[in-house]
C-alpha cells in the first residue's frame, strides 16, 4: 500500500507535464482524418479517373480536388495506392 505525503504528491504532479498542444490536437483530429481518408478512398473506388490521378501524382490530385488532408492521411493513401 502506497502512502502519500504532500511533498511526494507535489513531486508526482511534476512527473506528468502536459504534452505539446499540437501533438494532442493532432491525435484528437484522428477521427476527422479517418473520415477524410474514407471519403477519398470511396471516391477513388467509384471514380476511375480520380483513382488514376491519385496513382499518378497523389498530392497534386488531392490539391486539385480541394482536399487538404493531414500528413497521416497522405501517408496512408500513398501506402494504399502504391500497393494497388
Amino acid at each position: 500500500m502506497t502512502t502519500y505525503d504532500d511533498e511526494r504528491i507535489g513531486e508526482l504532479l511534476r512527473v506528468l507535464p502536459p504534452a505539446p498542444e499540437g501533438w494532442v490536437r493532432a491525435a484528437q483530429e484522428l477521427p476527422a482524418a479517418r473520415r477524410s481518408l474514407d471519403e477519398i478512398v470511396a471516391r477513388a473506388e467509384a471514380d476511375l479517373a480520380f483513382r488514376q490521378a491519385l496513382v499518378a501524382d497523389l498530392e497534386s490530385a488531392l490539391q486539385l480536388e480541394g482536399y487538404e488532408p493531414d500528413r497521416r492521411v497522405v501517408d496512408e493513401l500513398k501506402r494504399r495506392f502504391s500497393e494497388s
Partner: protein
C-alpha cells in the same frame, strides 16, 4: 473540466466506439501526459521520435479500440503499446543511440513513477475545478503565483495557501483510495 472527465475508462471506451468525438478528445486528453512522459522521461526519446511514437500510439488506439476485450483495461493496454513503440523507435535508431538508452533498472523505476503519477492525476480529477487548475498550473506547468492569480482571478497573496489546502484535499482523496475499493476511473 468536462462531464466526460468523470467517466470511467470503460465508459469512455464505450462512447468512443459509438463514434462520440468528444469522448475521443477526452481519451486523448486523459492519456496524453502519460504517453508523453513514457516517451520522454522513461525512454528519453528525442522530441521528434517522441512525437512519432505519440501519434502512432493514438492512431493504433483509435484503429483497434474494437479489439480491446476488457474495456476497463484501457490504461494497461495503452501503457504496453507505448512501451513497445518506444522500444521499436530505439531499435530503429540503431546502435548510434545505444549510449542514450536508459539503464534497465532506471527505466523500470521511471516507468513505475510515471504509473504512480497517473494514479495521483486520477485522484486529482475528483477535486474541484479550481483545485485541479491550481495544482496542475503550479506543479505540472511551472506557472508562477502571479500567473495563476491573474488567470484564475484569485487574490495573489492567497495562492500559496490555497495550493497547500488543495494538496491536503488530494492527499485525503489518495488516502481514501488506499483504504479500500472505491469507484475510481480505472
Amino acid at each position: 473540466m468536462s462531464q466526460l472527465s468523470t467517466l470511467s475508462d470503460a465508459e469512455l471506451v464505450q462512447r468512443c466506439r459509438e463514434g462520440n468525438t468528444d469522448a475521443w478528445n477526452e481519451l486523448v486528453e486523459r492519456f496524453s501526459r502519460y504517453v508523453y512522459a513514457v516517451c520522454t522521461r522513461g525512454y528519453r526519446l528525442s522530441e521528434e521520435d517522441a512525437d512519432d511514437v505519440f501519434q502512432e500510439v493514438f492512431t493504433r488506439v483509435f484503429t483497434h479500440l474494437d479489439t480491446l476485450r476488457n474495456d476497463a483495461a484501457l490504461r494497461p493496454w495503452i501503457a504496453q503499446l507505448t512501451r513497445r513503440l518506444c522500444l521499436d523507435s530505439i531499435t530503429k535508431r540503431g546502435r548510434e543511440q545505444a549510449t542514450d538508452e536508459p539503464m534497465a533498472e532506471e527505466l523500470a523505476a521511471d516507468l513505475a513513477e510515471i504509473d504512480e503519477a497517473f494514479t495521483v492525476r486520477e485522484a486529482l480529477a475528483t477535486l474541484s475545478d479550481t483545485c485541479q487548475e491550481m495544482l496542475d498550473r503550479f506543479f505540472a506547468r511551472d506557472q508562477s503565483y502571479r500567473t495563476i492569480s491573474d488567470e484564475l482571478d484569485l487574490p495573489s497573496g492567497t495562492v500559496a495557501s490555497r495550493i497547500a489546502r488543495c494538496l491536503s484535499k488530494l492527499r485525503t482523496e489518495l488516502e481514501g483510495r488506499n483504504e479500500g475499493p472505491r469507484g475510481s476511473r480505472g
